[in-house]
Symmetry: C3
Subunit: 182 residues, 3 copies
Amino acid sequence: MKTVNLDNYNNDWYKPGNKVKRIIWYLINMLFFKSSMPYCHRLKILLLRVFGAKAGRNVIIKPNVSIKYPWFLEIGDNVWIGEGVCIDNLAKVRIGNNVCISQLACILTGNHNYKKTTFDLIVSPVNIEDGVWVGARALVCPGVTLKSHSVVTAGSVISKDTESFTIYRGVPAGPIRKRIIE
Amino acid sequence: MKTVNLDNYNNDWYKPGNKVKRIIWYLINMLFFKSSMPYCHRLKILLLRVFGAKAGRNVIIKPNVSIKYPWFLEIGDNVWIGEGVCIDNLAKVRIGNNVCISQLACILTGNHNYKKTTFDLIVSPVNIEDGVWVGARALVCPGVTLKSHSVVTAGSVISKDTESFTIYRGVPAGPIRKRIIE
Amino acid sequence: MKTVNLDNYNNDWYKPGNKVKRIIWYLINMLFFKSSMPYCHRLKILLLRVFGAKAGRNVIIKPNVSIKYPWFLEIGDNVWIGEGVCIDNLAKVRIGNNVCISQLACILTGNHNYKKTTFDLIVSPVNIEDGVWVGARALVCPGVTLKSHSVVTAGSVISKDTESFTIYRGVPAGPIRKRIIE
């Protein structure tokens, strides 16, 4: 049976951006986002835009949020990013309009090819469409599209695309019922 | 199909307390509770009480705990709050006697009405009765009552009331066996 | 029905090491490991070894990692400990070679006997063999052995020993397929 050897791991092909820019962002993320610094939404949005993020109107970013690379982030209008959310965007994360990502939720974009002895890095974008609700401490796996107005309930792990206007629950999450908006 | 518009979200009806008090507590929570400051249980209990919490004898609060609003918190005697626990008490959280809430567990009280275009805030109290054990990184959902001596195992998500002396597991958690104490 | 009384809890038998050493490590863990301090892998490995850990070549420890007691830690060669990982090693945690523990994963070694009125502490070692991948935000329960090249997927909770070259998913996690490495 073949075995993994991380000595042979090589992600040189992955170029997430200029090193100086990444270091400066690391510090800004640490001081202004991951910290418990009270709100200051406007400053946060300004910093995100300076570092290449697209962000619409009325974006609220609570304390203790971590954003890996803002230049891989697109956020629409009326979006809430809850306390302690982790956006680990090694690849593009697109968030539409009227999206709520509740506290402690985590969005992943990085994976490894566990079928290779070299455990190759795989990065895949995440797409969160309009009106979606990612519940508290839910986990969104790499490559997933959460279709319009779908819901991932608290503590669930979603690893496949959702259908629009549908509620998902479990680890791994499956559809449990339709979301009917009155 | 109707869609969500967070521009129309309105939680003005929700009055969690005087703004100055909330800001001061935010800073105290940041410096003395969420921080890694070593134990100082007595100081923490004193601060909680000054801000309106009820707390009994032998309450132990480990580092990196977050408490949203202490005036919505009641804790009995002999209670342990583990490292990294999050008590997001927008509504009352009652914790009885001889309760253990293990590390990284999270207690939620806030929800949203996902059936409304306005995504209205819903807050519901949580009630944790005597002798309960909330396992490490378990998630307790809004409105739940954990009846006397029930157990939520590590990593489980409990979204319904438990039966007393019963062990729950899974996402969502269901009963797996009785808890028999010798 | 008998009930729990944490007043009678007694873990005096548990001697995890000299108190001064534990206090100094607590501070080092807080400042150099749990903090967002950028990488400095060599300094971290040096500190771990000074405090009794065994650590091989090419061990990478990302920011915001928490290690309870380094003298209960053995790490092989080519091991990655991801951002926000928690190693709560009240008992020995052995990590083999070529292991990846992804971000926010948590390794537990402490449990309580919920069948006793005294809620006795139980500590059990965790053994993570060569080539294992513990996925992001997975939870490894006390006493578990993750056999060679098994995988625990993101967000899963593993409470039993795994079989080698097998992938586990769910809460609680069960085997879903074999891991075939080309």
